[in-house]
């Protein structure tokens, strides 16, 4: 908050100086150019500060809920992360935050410096198994994050989420020497079990993202 006020004051003062530093005929030209230039230079910081004030996000980067609305603290969340150029059409402007009724409550257009887009669906309570929570999150968003899965004896393999297959994003070699897959994170850490075997806590954050090898 204090840096927002300080930046605003600096922008105003420099603009005023540029206004009075030139002759009367050129004051508007000078002040307007300086104002826009100053605003462009400080734009990222001002936007970030304002976003933090208006939406109250979790600020502790050691918390699995980091970057999520603080109103979701103590609830379960499912995030679908896509490289920004490969997002489903309606989720390409940032990371959308959708509550359990399917309403978008906040869009973070600077998540991971804008390189990651997608959505987090949160506010769930009482789910004990990962697959149930995942299905609930998919249902809330309609067809936006529909799953294509293959069922194996050892569990489910996610082929695509929202129509996005990992091998459309990364090059996958025919001999499997290189490839990509949907990676499951449990509270920010690589999950040692698949989604169908994952046991949840009250505030678990499940994240799906594309990883390559």
């Amino acid at each position: 908050m204090s840096s927002l006020i300080m930046l605003s004051v600096i922008v105003v003062i420099v603009t005023m100086l540029s206004y009075f530093a030139v002759n009367e005929e050129n004051r508007l030209k000078s002040a307007s150019v300086v104002f826009v230039s100053m605003l462009l230079v400080t734009f990222g910081t001002i936007s970030e500060e304002l976003g933090e004030i208006t939406t109250e996000l979790v600020q502790d980067d050691g918390d699995p809920h980091y970057g999520l609305p603080s109103s979701w603290n103590g609830t379960q969340v499912v995030c679908f992360h896509f490289p920004s150029e490969s997002s489903p059409e309606d989720f390409d402007q940032g990371r959308y935050h959708i509550d359990t009724s399917g309403i978008t409550i906040f869009v973070d257009d600077n998540w991971e410096n804008g390189n990651v887009t997608g959505a987090c669906v949160g506010g769930f309570e009482g789910y004990e198994e990962g697959l149930d929570l995942l299905n609930a999150a998919v249902n809330v968003t309609g067809d936006s994050f529909s799953l294509n899965v293959t069922e194996f004896s050892f569990g489910l393999q996610i082929n695509s989420i929202g129509g996005v297959s990992p091998c459309e994003v990364y090059t996958c070699a025919d001999d499997f020497s290189s490839g990509a897959y949907w990676e499951l994170l449990n509270d920010g850490a690589y999950s040692m079990v698949g989604i169908s075997d994952l046991t949840l806590n009250d505030d678990t954050v499940i994240t799906w993202q594309i990883a390559s090898y």
Binding site: V33, L40, G51, D90, I103, I105
Partner: protein, 217 residues
């Protein structure tokens, strides 16, 4: 020997400087050569203004929310009137969104730019005083128009999000609104006077003096 020009890549800042230079040269060429242009057909200068708006919006796309369309919508409203403003907003929005991105927000952009032009047409008497453009009044309206445009276009998110989120969305967009408003004032400060002389030359039929003159004949 052939060279592959498509293989030459520029950084975003290099591309922006180049784009800005192209827009500047285009505007300067228009203003400097226009004095030799004798046509009184407003359609010709209107077409040039539309092209300037579309190309300016596309070329200045790297700068968030700074583009000449809102300023030109105001000028079209003042000098060409309501019907031209609606045509201007529609053509510029649809043409530039073919390149940028077309969607439901296009309708809101058309409504917003047309509204700005229409209001400018209604306030013409405040903007043109003693046959001269009142730059201060136009600059104030241009700054206001930046906010007005953004807020009208922001209504498009209500198709996807709850109304309770709308105020937060508007607050988060304040830096964008300020850039739009500031950018509009820059265009007014640097281009309004030369452009008003140019438009005045080609739109004499819209001048109240000429209209009353024609009526008395």
């Amino acid at each position: 020997m052939l060279f592959d020009a498509h293989a030459v890549t520029l950084s975003p800042s290099e591309q922006f400087v180049l784009d800005l230079a192209i827009v500047s040269v285009a505007i300067a060429s228009l203003l400097f050569t226009d004095s030799k242009f004798k046509s009184k057909n407003p359609g010709i200068i209107f077409t040039i203004i539309v092209i300037l708006a579309v190309s300016g919006r596309l070329l200045l796309d790297p700068i968030p929310n700074v583009q000449p369309v809102t300023f030109l919508a105001i000028m079209v409203g003042i000098y060409f009137g309501i019907s031209y403003s609606i045509v201007f907003a529609t053509i510029v929005t649809l043409s530039s969104n073919v390149m940028l991105e077309h969607g439901i927000w296009s309708n809101y952009q058309i409504i917003a730019w047309a509204s700005i032009g229409i209001i400018a047409a209604f306030l013409r008497g405040q903007f043109i005083q003693n046959n001269k453009l009142n730059i201060t009044n136009v600059a104030i309206f241009a700054a206001f128009s930046g906010f007005m445009f953004d807020w009208i276009v922001s209504l498009s998110i209500l198709h996807n999000v709850d109304t309770s989120f709308f105020l937060i969305y508007l607050l988060n967009g304040l830096p964008f609104d300020l850039l739009h408003a500031g950018g509009n004032v820059v265009f007014v400060a640097w281009l309004a006077n030369p452009l008003s002389e140019l438009m005045d030359r080609h739109t004499s039929l819209t001048s109240p003096e000429v209209v009353s003159e024609l009526a008395s004949n």
